[in-house]
């Protein structure tokens, strides 16, 4: 077993120019930024429902799934970036003692580049290094900036796949009345989107399902309310799913998206019956608040906890650590960017 990251030394030794650069931090997995539309399920058009009378769902045990990705350009073969990425995901279970314990976790380290663009020696070294190599499309390889954007997509895909795999395994291990709460959409996975006790919690709102008055109703949803349940129109590989919004904190004085979550659960009449209890449950998860994370207005503490857990276990040479102020061993000049 080679030491993590040691393949970097091998490719550098083979002629790659060492580099150390972390492209702008990923904002996490989001929806695609386009209008897709939705069909009403619960009511004729999107309505605002108060949650004051709703009894929160309170499952005895809940598993929370989240993942992280970390990546860094570690070298160039010519002008083709060689990226090292670490993705990790974990399921942490919350039992009657209200504490979280890891029940499953997975990590993967990959190299991302375009092999046919690398000098032969570097390429051979990389192929021999025992690291899984992913390639971005040939057409993105010409421009380093585009190559990086494409590499980033690869990183995200790797992470999504890992999360999905872990989530599906997590479903199989779920106890009879246990729920699985996933950070992000369920509709990636058939198993997740069909399960009776899986819940997707989406906190970035790139996708737009509504226009006009309905959109206004969704985005100005008052604190303590949810929208009626709708069915996002299927796109690409996505599965059939039910969705609804819930507001965790008053947005007035902040921003339209402040405290706004979109929930996903299986497309089934029972979901409609559960929409209010689940929305109330999410509101109950506001405490403890997930500070100091900047997204605390919609980041559930247990999800934050999973992320903290994963970051704590990530390889220290990839995370930005105070020590990263010290130039990387491979760099020729001290880095000036923070």
């Amino acid at each position: 077993m080679t030491l993590r990251g040691s393949w970097v030394e091998a490719v550098v030794a083979a002629g790659a120019v060492p580099a150390s650069h972390v492209p702008d931090a990923s904002l996490g997995r989001g929806d695609v930024e386009e209008f897709t539309g939705a069909d009403p399920v619960e009511a004729g058009e999107l309505r605002v429902e108060p949650l004051s009378d709703a009894r929160p769902l309170a499952p005895a045990a809940v598993c929370f799934l989240d993942g992280i990705e970390q990546w860094r350009v570690v070298g160039y073969g010519g002008i083709t970036p060689i990226v090292r990425a670490h993705v990790a995901a974990a399921v942490r279970q919350r039992g009657p003692d209200r504490r979280l314990r890891t029940v499953a976790e997975a990590t993967e380290d990959v190299a991302i580049t375009r092999l046919d663009r690398l000098p032969a020696g570097v390429r051979r070294a990389l192929e021999a290094a025992g690291v899984r190599v992913l390639e971005f499309p040939a057409e993105e390889a010409g421009q380093p900036a585009r190559a990086l954007a494409a590499a980033r997509v690869e990183v995200q895909k790797t992470r999504t796949a890992l999360e999905r795999r872990l989530g599906e395994a997590g479903l199989r291990a779920l106890a009879a009345d246990e729920w699985l709460v996933v950070d992000g959409v369920l509709s990636d996975s058939a198993a997740l989107s069909e399960h009776t006790r899986a819940l997707g919690v989406v906190k970035s709102h790139g996708a737009q399902y509504f226009e006009g008055a309905e959109l206004e109703r969704a985005l100005t949803l008052p604190d303590g309310h949810r929208t009626s349940v709708f069915r996002p129109r299927a796109r690409g590989a996505r599965r059939d799913i039910y969705s609804w919004y819930v507001r965790l904190w008053p947005w007035e004085g902040n921003d339209l998206l402040y405290g706004l979550l979109r929930l996903e659960a299986r497309a089934h009449p029972e979901t409609i019956a559960l929409a209010s209890p689940i929305a109330a449950w999410m509101r109950a998860e506001r405490a403890p608040v997930a500070t100091p994370d900047r997204r605390w207005d919609r980041l559930l503490y247990p999800i934050h906890d999973v992320e903290t857990y994963l970051r704590a276990r990530a390889p220290s040479d990839l995370t930005s650590h105070p020590a990263s102020r010290i130039p990387n061993p491979g760099s020729r000049f001290p880095r000036t960017a923070s």
């Binding site: 314990r101 029940v103 997975a106 906890d305």
Partner: protein, 658 residues
């Protein structure tokens, strides 16, 4: 790559209970480190831990530490966020579906590193609870526990999380010559100061290393019945017995105890609470005459003021007058042995001066005022300490030169006037010192236990003789085998050099105000809290071999508590004069019949009876009654009681020259 894990099972004893962590803010240093444990842990303030280095360059390194502080916190960034999450309702805060991540972080002070060189920061390794062997290593007890001549004295049990290890102090550092003395402080009752010293004395008697010779203890009883029943068994529970066994000390009262107490003012009843008929026989009177007092007259003078002239006059009396044939210069010849003789000398000097010439106010360079002052002081002591100081007659003292191994000499001065207490301390300790210097005390080492040390060596106030003497033992006693065990409630109220020279310091439950004084700055706030709430029977020990103070538990002393003693053996009411005399003679000679004695002394002057009794006691004749009768003299010498008023200081059987 996917692994499924189940919640952690509880760790077995040998597995680590914590991990050293170090950050730029809280780094590990050669003397301190931080580690975290599970939230449920047996670790607490005072716990001893072992750190094993695992990293490169650290393997084989073992560090022992003692926990000095503890921290708990969660990932809560500011308290306000808790308020926000709970929407201002504390009840809701407790009901939140998830408990925040939290940490138990501990700070430990390094006790020992192995290897000791090179001295490096504590490795960021795994933390284990200490075993018996670890405790011995951590406290460097291995140096004196084994070997050809071990010098270990059990002091108590280190206890932490179900683990228990005996802690020993080093006799060479407790009783000299390397270091010596012990000081114990703490609040009344809860600190168990007196009890701890009693336990430690019996531990010393049982474990004093043979190569160091013989050892004895002189205990001044200054409070009620505290030390009056050291030879009687007390009540112990099973836990105490178990602790005795674990410490290797037999739970027995002291085998050899000798009690000394002065008389009450009547000169025949003993001034102690050990007067129950079954026990009073073992109390020996402590009676001193002029000679004994004059040698320590400095004690009397500088309680009030230092007066070189008075000193000089006292020296003159001690050197030139007492026990010698002396001409007063007015035609009188004196042989001054007793206070009464001295009083006669004073009278004849003052009368002589008055007759000789008008205005004559000095005698042999001593001014009349100085002489009057000295006379008053001496008269004063013989009145204030009447039962201790005899006006006349022989004295009875501790067995100087015949001290016995593993024997406790209790000197009961609990009810003696402070002036008399000072005199007793001064004389007993000075005698011990001289004898130990000359090596003719009978033992090689003596522990002197002074309770309420703050009274005798206060931090402020005049430099009294007693204070100077206690300072002297503190500073030089260790070479002589003269060891001071002092106890007081407030260490800050005892002279700095006296406590400072105590190689071993013990602390029971402490008063919070006392802990706020500068002397305790070296202790962490958590250690202070622990001291302020220390349960009964638990002590904090500082000893030269221990780099940090250590908490131990000790069993109740196996002797009868003073309070219980006076209940089980209620002190007898004072006997009428004749009965007391009869009782004393009976003690000397079992054949004596009380009625005989009573007849004999029926209308004798009490002074005469006392003197005859003292003489008999000192001579220890075969036939006590006959000797007593002879000393008392013929009935003709008796002076009717009515006549006494007219010649109070005079003594009927002295050979009065005029």
């Amino acid at each position: 790559m996917i692994e499924r894990r189940d919640p952690l099972p509880s760790p077995p004893l040998s597995s680590p209970i914590g991990r050293v962590v170090a950050t730029e803010q809280k780094p590990a240093t050669p003397h301190q480190f931080h580690f975290w444990t599970a939230n449920e842990t047996s670790i607490g303030i005072g716990a001893i831990v072992r750190v094993e280095g695992l990293g490169a360059g650290d393997s084989g390194r073992v560090v022992y530490g003692v926990v000095t502080d503890g921290f708990a916190y969660s990932d809560l960034a500011t308290p306000l966020h808790d308020v926000v999450g709970a929407q201002g309702d504390p009840a809701k805060a407790a009901a939140s579906p998830t408990v925040r991540q939290e940490i138990r972080l501990w700070t430990a002070a390094v006790l020992r590193q192995t290897p000791e060189e090179p001295l490096q920061p504590v490795p960021l390794g795994q933390v284990h609870v200490a075993t018996d062997v670890d405790v011995a290593q951590a406290l460097r007890m291995d140096a004196y526990l084994g070997g050809a001549q071990p010098t270990a004295i059990p002091v108590g049990l280190y206890t932490s999380g179900g683990l228990e290890a005996p802690v020993y102090v080093d006799a060479d550092f407790l009783l000299g010559p390397e270091a010596a003395h012990l000081n114990i402080s703490g609040v009344s009752g809860l600190a168990t100061k007196t009890s701890a010293v009693e336990f430690l004395l019996s531990s010393i008697f049982q474990h004093f290393p043979p190569h160091k010779g013989r050892v004895a203890a002189v205990c001044f009883n200054v409070k009620g019945p505290d030390l009056c029943f050291l030879d009687r068994p007390g009540t112990l529970d099973d836990e105490d017995r178990r602790r005795y066994q674990r410490l290797g000390v037999a739970p027995e009262p002291f085998q050899q105890v000798r009690y000394f107490a002065p008389f009450k003012a009547d000169g025949v009843n003993l001034n102690t609470l050990r007067t129950h008929p079954d026990l009073v026989g073992e109390v020996e009177p402590l009676v001193w005459g002029l000679r004994e007092v004059l040698d320590y007259a400095e004690v009397l003078l500088n309680r009030d003021d230092i007066d070189a002239k008075a000193d000089a006059f006292i020296d003159f009396l001690a050197d030139r007058v007492v026990d010698k044939e002396f001409e007063d210069g007015f035609g009188g010849a004196h042989r001054v042995v007793t206070f009464a003789d001295l009083e006669r000398l004073f009278r004849s000097i003052f009368d002589g001066l008055e007759l000789a010439s008008r205005g004559g106010d000095s005698w042999r360079t001593h001014h009349i005022a100085t002489m009057r002052k000295v006379r008053n002081r001496l008269a004063n002591i013989s009145t204030r300490c009447k039962g201790l100081v005899t006006d006349d007659g022989p004295s009875n003292d501790l067995p100087w030169g015949r001290f016995a191994d593993r024997t406790v000499y209790v000197v009961d001065v609990a009810n003696v006037d402070p002036l008399g207490q000072d005199l007793v301390f001064a004389r007993v300790v000075s005698q011990l010192r001289e004898r130990l210097e000359r090596r003719d005390l009978g033992v090689e080492a003596v522990v002197v236990f002074v309770d309420e040390l703050n009274k005798y060596a206060p931090a402020d106030g005049p430099e009294t003789y007693v204070k100077k003497m206690l300072l002297d033992i503190s500073e030089r006693g260790r070479y002589l085998g003269l060891v001071l065990f002092g106890a007081e409630q407030f260490r800050s109220q005892v002279h700095r050099r006296v406590v400072g020279n105590a190689g071993t310091a013990v602390f029971g439950r402490m008063d919070a105000d006392e802990l706020a004084t500068p002397g305790y700055q070296v202790l962490s706030p958590a250690t202070k809290i622990k001291l302020a709430t220390l349960p009964i029977g638990e002590l904090m020990v500082r000893h030269p071999h221990f780099t940090q103070p250590i908490f131990v538990r000790f069993p109740r002393p196996a002797v009868l508590r003073g309070r219980d003693g006076v209940e089980r053996y209620p002190p007898a009411a004072d006997l009428p004069f004749e009965d007391a005399v009869a009782r004393q003679l009976l003690k000397l000679d079992r054949r004596v019949r009380p009625n005989q004695v009573k007849d004999l002394i029926a209308d004798r002057r009490e002074e005469d009876v006392r003197r005859a009794l003292a003489h008999t006691r000192q001579t220890r004749p075969q036939d006590a009654l006959a000797h007593f009768k002879k000393q008392l003299g013929g009935r003709v010498a008796a002076v009717p009681a009515a006549a006494r008023e007219s010649v109070p200081p005079l003594n009927a059987i002295s050979d009065e020259p005029y």
